[in-house]
Symmetry: D2
Subunit: 256 residues, 4 copies
């Protein structure tokens, strides 16, 4: 049984994480933390409002869905107190990540900071990078609900960056192609093209399309609900207890 | 049995049409025309090199896949000689079409000029127009091989035009959306967005995506081979013998 | 302004309908009914617990998401009291529907009983029927969450029935095809094939695939959330006030 | 420059391979072999009708698209004469493959026997195997033209076998699911489900659908034309010159 503390358990992601931990047979919820908590006990375990109360507490893993402002200190605290951190909060700087990795190596304790816990999205990015070695012709279509402000999506740009690491850079499309309406060919990223669709009803979806003479390979991820992140959190909990340093990115725990 | 003449039978589309006519049980090939023909007989029927040789000839339908420069005169000739024209050649002006419709009404003879004989593409456009009445949120993705020069495709623009006839015009996407890379949101057409994908291996494909609260409706056409046009040509041949004027557009012969 | 009563407003669908009515500018919620209600007023309108209290009440439309056991009596009551019924409850017998249509004609009052209010699903079925006239080769893939017990889905069977009305019946696939594992070719329905996919994460999705020489036409509906039914309910409310008899099926109010 | 011999150059695949080799800048066609050849020279290189004429000939790679009856002897001949074999002919027994691998190790010469040279299809299978570790819920849909006799396709079964190597075996779908029409849930393979769609117009396509709470991952391969095999053949030619034993399966030369 892996003993788990959840920090930020009153937030949307934190409370989803509580449910997930309670459902897994090999996990045991041992404590929850939230500065906004008023009860002393929840889900049959003690409630803490300040991390200092957890010094000396017995747990294996510290799951953190708190605020960017406290996540760094929380992660440091977890490492120093022997709790392996599994961190879903975003906003760490490169320096902070480096410092936390160093600290984990010093303490010889595993950990995970993951900007994206959606296992399917992480696999899509990794497969895209693998495929791009052999299929240098690639375009990305990302589709989101029509309240989304930014285009292209962060995941699409991240995917394009990963592909660019291995793809022979070249201009996608005919040399003499012309747009009769500007923007038809999408956003250009190192010669690749990214297209952003926005429609009500959609949630978060991404397709990476590879083409080669006579064939096509299409990889698609559909995200319908934030509960999807929990598969990745569970994977993280199971993996951090096996390793001896903190990793940045869920892909480090995937055997691909 | 419907007796068919094929003009331009030595071209790619014309020869494909010959094969189609020979395969249909209710069609009878009775003559073929091509100025470049050298043989006197082909497929067991007489070969003509000049349309004047066909005055007084007995046939029901004149299928034409010739050059834009002669198609208008050919169509007029067909109508005047009692052959119902089924014309796949493009490049008619609006005046020419109006003149030919008038002539057909005068002669009380059916006919068809179709800029697009791909039945699936025509259905896609008609369904898109129908759906847009109820789903005003719509984006188009068209996908073609990477030798294509123009973007968006003519079919995508035509589809958008048909949709615009019935759709309440509005800007697609969030009011405050921003492109971090120009072009991400595609080409704008009356508030709709059109995205053009170009990859080797692709032939000609189009998706029309409709979204509404909690649901999506996607219509897709895949064109793999020009043989697909023949389903529409066969439909045209069967329909022109039943009507008494020339129509522009295959959709006029569809019961939707 | 169309004045709307909602019966069954405390249920999941009924409360979703209340929200929809409150959001539409041309609708006015004037009363709500539910035998389980305890409050006297809700959403600023009077609450009723028995339909008899509504005799003489002023309203245009009666939206009903109650139980099958009371829906027939409710619909009759609505017609008799001048409220145009828009009924989402299922389980009417053919005799009951015929009786209600007769009553509506007698009273010269519009109405709608719809077994499916998902506009996209209704359009998918109608388009499939239209396309099948021209594309007799068709297979259906329906995809649902893995808690679903029945396969194929009711919507898939209904779609196949509509297609069968216009499709020339024939066996789909090669004459000499053989399944090396039973079931590979799916369920047979009048020569068509229906395939049922069940996976966690999926909600309710259906694809109708048409094929012809050199081309394919694919129609897909994705249902992510029950809120999708409300587009159809709103359409029903707007249409029943324009007609003078009750219709069975949302498709009767679509201009296709 | 890699010097290439092509055996079976008059067949469909062989002649496609000739074109591919001529187009690549780092390949040099040095000889072609076919027992049915009548010319002495073709594509500017000598034509052979019997492999014995090639003893002592200078070449790096032997590409073979001949008949199953001669492919084993040809591969042995190639290995013994210092030509690295790249073999697309199928029908080798396990014993033959083992013998050829042994021979290649003895001669310290690279080689490749690939039952499937479609790079996209091979990637699809490998990615499916990788994903199945993390997404144990999976169904396969394969779609082919309607002349195909067998269902499910060999590639679909092969994909299922690869997935089964890593997937925790379990029954896909609800425990109490019932088919109202037999076959709806497809073919069962170790608890997985495989669905075979057959339609005119289709060529060869496969989708592997993974589902998990709140998300889906879909991998799709579309094969439109046999020219697609040539990307894999080219890859094989470039890789066999770098290794010192024969491999069975293109995946051994992919860095995934």
């Amino acid at each position: 049984m892996i003993k788990v503390i959840i920090a930020g358990y009153k937030g949307r992601m934190g409370s989803t994480a509580v449910n997930m931990v309670l459902e897994q047979e090999d996990f045991e919820l041992v404590g929850v933390l939230d500065p906004f908590a008023k009860e002393k006990e929840a889900f049959g375990v003690p409630v803490f409002t300040d991390k200092s109360e957890l010094v000396g507490f017995s747990a294996d893993v510290w799951v953190d869905f708190t605020q960017p402002s406290v996540a760094f200190e929380n992660t440091k605290f977890a490492l120093e107190n022997g709790f392996r951190p599994v961190i879903g909060t975003t906003g760490f700087t490169e320096e902070q990540i480096a410092e936390l990795i160093n600290l984990s190596q010093e303490k010889e304790i595993g950990g995970l900071i993951a900007p994206n816990f959606a296992l399917g999205a992480v696999l899509l990015m990794q497969f895209s990078k693998q495929a791009a070695k052999y299929f240098p012709d690639v375009e990305i279509i990302e589709l989101h609900h029509d309240k989304k402000k930014d285009a292209p999506s962060g995941t699409a740009v991240k995917t394009a960056e990963l592909i660019a690491e291995v793809r022979v850079e070249h201009h996608q499309g005919a040399d003499d192609e012309e747009e009769s309406i500007a923007g038809a060919r999408g956003a250009e990223f190192e010669g690749m093209r990214i297209h952003s669709v926005r429609l009500p009803g959609l949630v978060a979806h991404q397709e990476v399309l590879f083409g080669s003479a006579g064939e096509g390979l299409t990889l698609r991820h559909d995200s319908y609900d934030r509960v999807s992140f929990m598969t990745g959190v569970a994977l993280g909990i199971r993996e951090v207890v096996k390793v001896h340093e903190l990793k940045y990115g869920l892909e480090h725990f995937l055997e691909l």
